[in-house]
Symmetry: C2
Subunit: 115 residues, 2 copies
Amino acid sequence: MTDHQLREPTRLVLTVLADAPRHGYAIIQEVLAVSGGRTRLSTGTLYTALDRLLHQGLVGIESEEVVGGRLRRTYSLTSQGQNLLAEETERLRRAVAEADRRLAVARLRPNGATA
Amino acid sequence: MTDHQLREPTRLVLTVLADAPRHGYAIIQEVLAVSGGRTRLSTGTLYTALDRLLHQGLVGIESEEVVGGRLRRTYSLTSQGQNLLAEETERLRRAVAEADRRLAVARLRPNGATA
DNA sequence: CGCCATATGTCGATTGGCTACCCATTGGCT
DNA sequence: AGCCAATGGGTAGCCAATCGACATATGGCG
C-alpha cells in the first residue's frame, strides 16, 4: 500500500532534515524550536526513528566523523524521503482544508444538526 | 503537557464528525470519500477509537436506536472535541508551512540528497 | 441459495513512541 | 571537590493506537 501513515515525531524528523543535513542532537533542538517548544523529541524516539528511516531509505548518512572515540553521524533526507514528505504535506494540506470547512459548518449551527 | 498527538485515523474521525453526527459505518464511508479512497478505516480502529474518544469526552452519543436487536449509535463531536480538532488543525497548518519552506530550500540545492 | 452491502463489534499481533536508563566530555558555579 | 547543564549518542522495556482477521446479523439481488 501507498499508505505511509507518518506519525508526528517521524514527520518532524523528515521536515527538519529537508533543508539541511543534521546530526541527532541538532534534530532534537530543531524540532523543539520549530514546534515552539511543544514537541520534545526524546532520544529513544529519535534514534529508533532514524534507524527505521535509514532502513526505509528515507534518510541517508551524510557524513561520519569520530569525535572522542565516538561516531557522530550526520543524516540527510534522501530524494525518496523528500518525495514522501512532499506527498505527506499535500495530504495534510487537504486534511487542514477539510477540517476548516467542517469546523465552519459546525460554527453555523452551535448545537449540531438534530439528527 | 497534555500533548495529545492525534494519529491520522483518530483525527479523521473527529474531522468527519465536525459538520454532522454520524454512526460508525457512515464515518468509515465518509473518511474513505474525503481521502479520495486512500484511507480505509478498519472497524477495529474505528470502534476502539470511538470508545476511547467517548471516554475522553471528545465525542458524545447523539442518539441510540435499536435496529434488529442491535444498538445503533450516532456519534457527534463535543465542544471539547471541536476545540481539540481546531487546535490540531492549527498545529498542522504550521507544520505544512514549515515543510513547504524547507522543501523549497531543498529544491534550491539539489545536491543534498546523496541517498 | 450464495453473495454483497449495510452495520457493529472483538481479539491478537505489530508498530511506533515514551520513560528511564546507560555512556562520555566540556564548562561553569559554589 | 562536588555538582549541574549542555552537548552528543544509544538501549530496554513498557504502553497505546492501529491493523488484519474474524464473528454476527439483516435485507436485497440474481
